[in-house]
Symmetry: C2
C-alpha cells in the first residue's frame, strides 16, 4: 500500500469525528470548506510540535496522536470556543505503516473525544514534526481574550497543576508505580478544558491555557490586560499523587512547569458568585488582580517575584 | 533583541496586509478570530514546506517568504476564493535576525500583493520548515471543486507551463542570462491566480492548481470527477524563453514539472463562450473531457498515455 493510500485509510475516517455538518468539504480537494453558522465568529489557532523539542525522540505515536490534538485544542478552550474541525500538516522521515496507524489511532480518539473533525492537511517527507490548526466558533463577540482582566478580579485555575512537569522524570520508567502512572497520564493524555472554557464564556474577564507554566502564562494574561496580580502558594491546587512523589517541590512544579493544559482565568467576585456550584468546583481561587504590572507570589507570609527563590530551575 | 521581540517587530506588521476588518483578533492571544460575512463560506488550506525537500538548502529567505505564501494561496485560487488571512507555523534552527528580517520582508510583499493578513502563528526551534494555512471566502456553495468536470468540457490552463521546472537548472547560476532570469522568476516568485480563480467562479465546472505538474494535477481532477480527458501537446502554452532555453524538452517540462502554480480548469463550451475576452485571453484550451478514466496525450497525431515516451524523467 502506498503512502497516499495509507493516509487515506488511516486519516480520512477522522473527517467524521466532529461537527461534520459544519465541514462542507473535507480532505482531498485543494481546500476544505467550513460553513460558519450565522451569528458566530470563527476562532482558530496553530501549534507546531517538533520531535526532540516538544516531545521525546521515539515517543509513542499513539500518545503523540492524542497529545498533538489536545495541545492545539487547549487554545480553543482558553477562548471559550466550541470545537469544530482541524487541519494537520505532518512531516515524516518515512511512511512507516505501523507508526501512521498508531498515530492516527491516538489522533482519532482525541478527535472524537473533543468533537473535532479532520478537515484537511498536508503530508511531506522531512524531520518528524506536526503542525495542527484547530477551528472553533463562538457567538459573535463572545470569545474570551487575554486582555480583559480587571483590578479586583479573582485569579483562578482549573484542575491541579504540576503533574505533567513531574511526569518528565518518569518518561523512561519501565515499571511506573501508581502515583507515577497518574502524573504520566497527565503528560501523555492532556485533557483540554473545552466544556469548562465554553461554560465560562460571558462570565470570566480573561483566560489563558497553561502550556508554558502558570507564571509564564498568567504573566502573558497580565501583560495583555495591563494589570498586576498576587497569587498565594498555599492555594495552589496540588494533587495528592504529586505531593507524595515530589514533596515540597510540588509548588515549584505547579508554578513553573508546563504541559498541564489547565485554564487560568480572571473573574469578578460578582460573576464568581453567579457561577454554578458545578463550575466553581472545577476551579480554585489562587489570587487576585491588582493595579500595576507583574506578578507577586505570597509564600507563607513572604512576598516574592517569580524567578526568585529558585523557581527558575524548573522553567521549561 | 530577543526572539519574541524580533518576531513581534518583523511579523506583526503583516497583520495589516489584507482584509483586516475580517480579522477581529490577530497574533498574540491564544487564538485568532475571523468574522465571516453572512452568506459566505470559509475556504482554507494548509501547505508545509521543508528545507531540502520543497526548497534548496540555504535558499534566499526573502524569496522563501514570497514563495511560501504564494504556494499556499494558489490553493485558494483553485477554489475561486477571495483571500482573507493566513497563519504561519515557523520552525527555525536559530533566531538569526538577518534571516528573519529577509523572510518577513518577502512574506510581507506577498501578503500585501495577495491581500492576505497574518492572523496568527507559532514559532519553534527545530529544522527549517514552514507550514502556512490560508483562509479565503466564497459566496455560499460557490467554491470550485475538483469533482465537477463533465464530458464535453474544454480543458484549459492559465498562463504558460514548464518554466518553473526549467528554473531548477539555473538556481546555482551566478550570472543568469535574460531567458534564465525569466524562468528563475517563475520559480522564485510564483503568482497565484487569485483574481482569475475568483472571476471563474460560477463559470467553470472544476479546477485545480498546478503544483506537482499538469499530468499529476489534471489526473487528480479527472479522478475526482470520474471522467477522462484528451489533451493536445501542440496546444500547450509555452513561453518563448522556455523554448529558447530547452528546445523540445519544453513539452516534457510543461507536462510533468511542478511549481508553475497556474490553474487547470474544465469549462463547458457554452460557459467558455460567455467568458469575457479578457478572461479568455488568460486561458488556453488544451483538450477536452471524455467519458471513462485517465488521461490521453495527443502528440503529432499519435496518442499515448502519460508516463510513456520518457515523460517520467521529469516527475518531481
Amino acid at each position: 500500500m502506498g503512502e497516499f493510500e495509507l493516509i487515506r485509510r488511516y486519516f480520512f475516517p477522522i473527517a467524521e469525528a466532529g461537527n461534520t455538518s459544519a465541514v462542507l468539504l473535507g480532505p482531498g480537494d485543494d481546500c476544505a470548506i467550513q460553513r460558519i453558522e450565522p451569528g458566530r465568529d470563527l476562532v482558530f489557532s496553530v501549534d507546531a510540535l517538533v520531535e526532540g523539542v516538544h516531545f521525546p525522540h521515539h515517543y509513542d505515536p499513539e500518545k503523540l496522536g492524542w497529545r498533538s490534538l489536545a495541545v492545539a485544542a487547549s487554545d480553543l478552550a482558553a477562548m471559550g470556543a466550541d470545537p469544530v474541525c482541524f487541519t494537520l500538516a505532518l512531516t515524516l522521515p518515512d511512511a512507516d505503516p505501523d507508526w501512521l496507524h498508531a498515530y492516527a489511532s491516538g489522533l482519532a480518539s482525541a478527535a472524537s473525544c473533543f468533537g473535532l473533525s479532520l478537515a484537511g492537511g498536508d503530508t511531506t517527507r522531512g524531520p518528524l514534526m506536526l503542525s495542527l490548526q484547530v477551528h472553533g466558533t463562538v457567538p459573535r463577540g463572545q470569545a474570551i481574550r487575554r486582555s480583559g482582566a480587571q483590578v479586583g478580579d479573582y485569579v483562578c485555575v482549573s484542575g491541579t497543576l504540576g503533574e505533567a512537569g513531574a511526569a518528565l522524570n518518569y518518561l523512561e520508567s519501565n515499571n511506573p508505580q501508581a502515583d507515577e502512572q497518574a502524573v504520566l497520564a497527565r503528560y501523555h493524555y492532556p485533557e483540554p478544558r473545552l466544556r469548562l472554557g465554553a461554560a465560562l464564556r460571558g462570565s470570566v474577564s480573561a483566560a489563558v491555557d497553561i502550556s508554558d507554566g502558570l507564571i509564564a502564562d498568567l504573566g502573558h494574561l497580565l501583560e495583555a490586560s495591563g494589570v498586576a496580580a498576587c497569587i498565594d502558594v498555599a492555594k495552589l491546587p496540588l494533587s495528592a499523587a504529586l505531593k507524595r512523589l515530589v514533596g515540597e517541590n510540588a509548588v515549584n512544579l505547579a508554578l513553573n512547569a508546563g504541559d498541564d493544559y489547565e485554564l487560568c482565568i480572571t473573574i469578578s467576585p460578582r460573576e464568581w458568585g453567579s457561577l454554578s456550584e458545578d463550575i466553581r468546583s472545577r476551579l480554585t481561587i489562587i489570587g487576585e488582580v491588582k493595579p500595576g504590572d507583574g506578578l507577586v507570589i505570597n509564600d507563607d507570609g513572604q512576598s516574592r517575584a517569580p524567578g526568585a527563590g529558585g523557581y527558575d530551575h524548573f522553567r521549561t
